[in-house]
């Protein structure tokens, strides 16, 4: 991949999604470059999480296409696990880890490797996999908790474990839904650093409410409003945009 020829890793065109008459996504067009770190913000109900659901195949759009990678595979025709296998990883809004498994096993299950029923029956942990897991544990700061059950981790640690699971997967596109939710300021800052260190190697979409956090990590911000893209740009551009102030920032200032 050369820097001169910028490829879209994700492009969504004319996407619509209605839930019981509520237009969650309204004629959405979204383009993202390979290696980009993009932040999506927007008030509650703007369609942020629905957008991620559409990318990962959890829900299907009424109309429109969502194409992924240089090959332009249409994700709207794939199921969740097929989309995963194309290289899309997702971190949920509430930390979603396997609570009864150890931290090590959580990463092992996320690691690239056997995925079929019978393949998993006879797969063994290789030394290379073990090393990779240790490496990830170091990155997410959970080396000491390797054998602890994921359910016993603190909230912030679970968030990091889930990010670690995306790293283990070695996804091309990481979708990260509110990584800083419920974290202390210090933890939030560290999460930001972690995401920044991953950008470039991976393309990342982050959904976030916390503007301090957005300012820390954002190169380019997309503002969603009522399922439609209101504007895109740098944090400063977005924050000075009249429409954004009206629907989002302005309203939050009043409170």
């Amino acid at each position: 991949m050369s820097a001169m020829h910028k490829e879209h890793i994700l492009y969504a065109e004319g996407v619509n999604k209605t839930f019981d008459g509520f237009k969650a996504i309204n004629d959405l067009n979204f383009y993202m470059d390979e290696g980009e770190l993009r932040t999506v913000i927007g008030p509650n109900g703007a369609g942020k999480t629905t957008f991620l659901d559409l990318i990962t195949g959890r829900t299907k759009p009424d109309t429109g296409t969502i194409r992924f990678g240089g090959e332009g595979t249409d994700l709207t025709r794939k199921s969740e696990y097929e989309i995963y296998r194309l290289g899309v990883g997702r971190k949920f809004q509430t930390p979603t880890v396997y609570t009864d498994h150890t931290v090590f096993e959580n990463l092992l299950l996320s690691l690239e490797g056997s995925r079929g029923v019978f393949a998993t029956l006879f797969s063994r942990v290789t030394p290379a996999q073990r090393d990779r897991i240790r490496e990830i544990l170091k990155i997410i700061g959970l080396s000491a908790r390797e054998e602890a059950k994921a359910g016993s981790l603190a909230h912030g640690q679970k968030q990091w474990l889930e990010i670690g699971m995306l790293l283990a997967q070695n996804a091309r596109l990481l979708l990260v839904d509110e990584p800083a939710a419920g974290m202390s300021d210090e933890e939030t800052a560290k999460t930001g650093e972690l995401l920044l260190s991953l950008a470039g190697k991976h393309s990342i979409i982050v959904i976030e409410h916390d503007m301090v956090f957005v300012r820390q990590i954002a190169s380019k911000v997309t503002v969603l409003h009522q399922g439609h893209i209101l504007c895109e740009g740098t944090v400063d551009q977005v924050q000075s945009d009249e429409r954004v102030i009206e629907v989002y920032l302005g309203r939050s200032k009043k409170h």
Partner: protein, 387 residues
């Protein structure tokens, strides 16, 4: 620590297996009835029944405790296996029935003079055993395929399994499907040339059941230790995460569901010659629910739990239905409530809890240097190293 514990567990399993498979049958066969250590024929037969139930219970737990699929229809697969074995046993009666005809009595009663085509291959034990595996497996495959493809989960899945069982139960009550209707199959005479009513045959069936239970236990122990077993428990705890980790969760569930059905079918096939009867009552939803209670009482999510639970509850049932028959449903229900409210991990969990308490008490008695072995508090986890 984990390792030494499981080694101890395996040793315990080995001892229990030797007692159940070798010692008890020998005490039955070689000791005179006057001996205080003699095991009666009645007990052997009773335990053979309990162990068949234990196998059924393990399959319920494999689905419920390990995969999060609460099947309220495991007795269906158990009964189907039993029916397939029953068809073979009916053929082995030959002309010794009430009507002295070469076809089963109920067919004579329905006006048949020759054997219906689909009954014919069941004269072969091998064919019947194949059907014991194939019929429950095939039904589970079709049902599971449709249910998991439609992403039917949780309580909806449970209700569907129960509805299917109820439908099958009603179907088997009908005379015109030529499977004995209301009365089912009974009055068995021979299995593989041995008289089913002799002590030696009963002992043989008991040993076969005990060995099969051991195989199932060890097999499932291995299965749950593989990566597949990890995926299985991951599905239980967070199916969405599993899907977004690239596993086709539905395929895993289907595999486990079919496996559980096949094993339950084999358990049913072992059960029928020992109790000497199979009828649609065996499919009643109540039986599936009871199996769930065994698992809950014994300890969900463990492999020993369902075995302990099945034996404990059924032994209690044998006693209680004689001592105070009217109160048995209340006792059963009360036990279930008690376990759900106070013993989330059943009898096995209770035993572990007691062991832990004793361990802690011992540690207190020892000098503090030993007691400090507890895992160190989680190191400051905030240290994210970023390259």
């Amino acid at each position: 620590m984990q390792k030494s514990y499981s080694r101890r567990e395996l040793l315990a399993v080995f001892i229990v297996a030797v007692v159940a498979i070798v010692v008890i049958p020998c005490l039955n066969a070689f000791l005179p009835e006057s001996s205080p250590l003699h095991v009666s024929d009645y007990s052997i037969n009773l335990w053979g029944k309990y162990l068949s139930y234990a196998i059924l219970a393990i399959t319920v737990d494999l689905l419920w405790g390990y995969t999060g699929l609460l099947s309220l229809g495991q007795s269906l697969y158990f009964s189907l296996g039993g029916y397939m074995m029953g068809m073979y046993l009916m053929r082995m009666i030959g002309s010794l029935g009430q009507y002295h005809m070469p076809i089963p009595d109920f067919l004579v009663f329905l006006g048949w003079t020759t054997l219906p085509e689909f009954w014919k291959p069941f004269s072969s034990f091998a064919f019947a055993m194949m059907m014991v595996v194939v019929l429950p497996g095939a039904l589970a495959f079709v049902f599971g395929f449709l249910a998991f493809r439609s992403r039917i989960r949780g309580v909806y899945f449970s209700i569907l399994t129960q509805a299917l069982t109820y439908a099958a139960c009603l179907l088997f009550f009908r005379n015109n499907i030529l499977l004995g209707g209301n009365n089912g199959f009974t009055d068995f005479k021979f299995i593989l040339g041995h008289d089913v009513r002799t002590a030696a045959t009963e002992r043989g069936l008991y040993v076969a059941t005990a060995i099969f239970l051991l195989i199932v236990y060890l097999g499932f122990k291995w299965l749950t230790s593989t990566k597949l077993g990890k995926v299985q428990r991951a599905i239980r705890d967070s199916e969405n995460r599993v899907l977004f980790s690239g596993y086709a969760a539905g395929n895993f569930k289907l595999f486990i569901f079919v496996l559980a059905a096949v094993v339950a079918g084999l358990a049913g096939a072992l059960y029928v010659p020992q109790v000497g009867i199979i009828n649609p009552g065996e499919m009643a939803t109540q039986n599936s629910l009871e199996a769930v209670v065994w698992v809950a009482v014994g300890g969900r999510g463990t492999l020993v739990g369902p075995i302990v639970g099945a034996i404990f509850v059924n032994a209690l049932k044998s006693y209680a239905t004689r001592a105070f028959p009217d109160y048995w449903p209340i006792i059963l229900g009360g036990m279930f409530l008690l376990v759900v409210l106070f013993l989330p991990r059943g009898l096995v969990g209770l035993a572990e809890h007691c062991a832990a308490l004793i361990g802690r008490a011992r540690q207190k008695a020892k000098p503090p240097a030993e007691a400090a072995e507890e895992p160190a508090p989680p190191a400051a986890a905030g240290q994210i190293a970023v390259k």
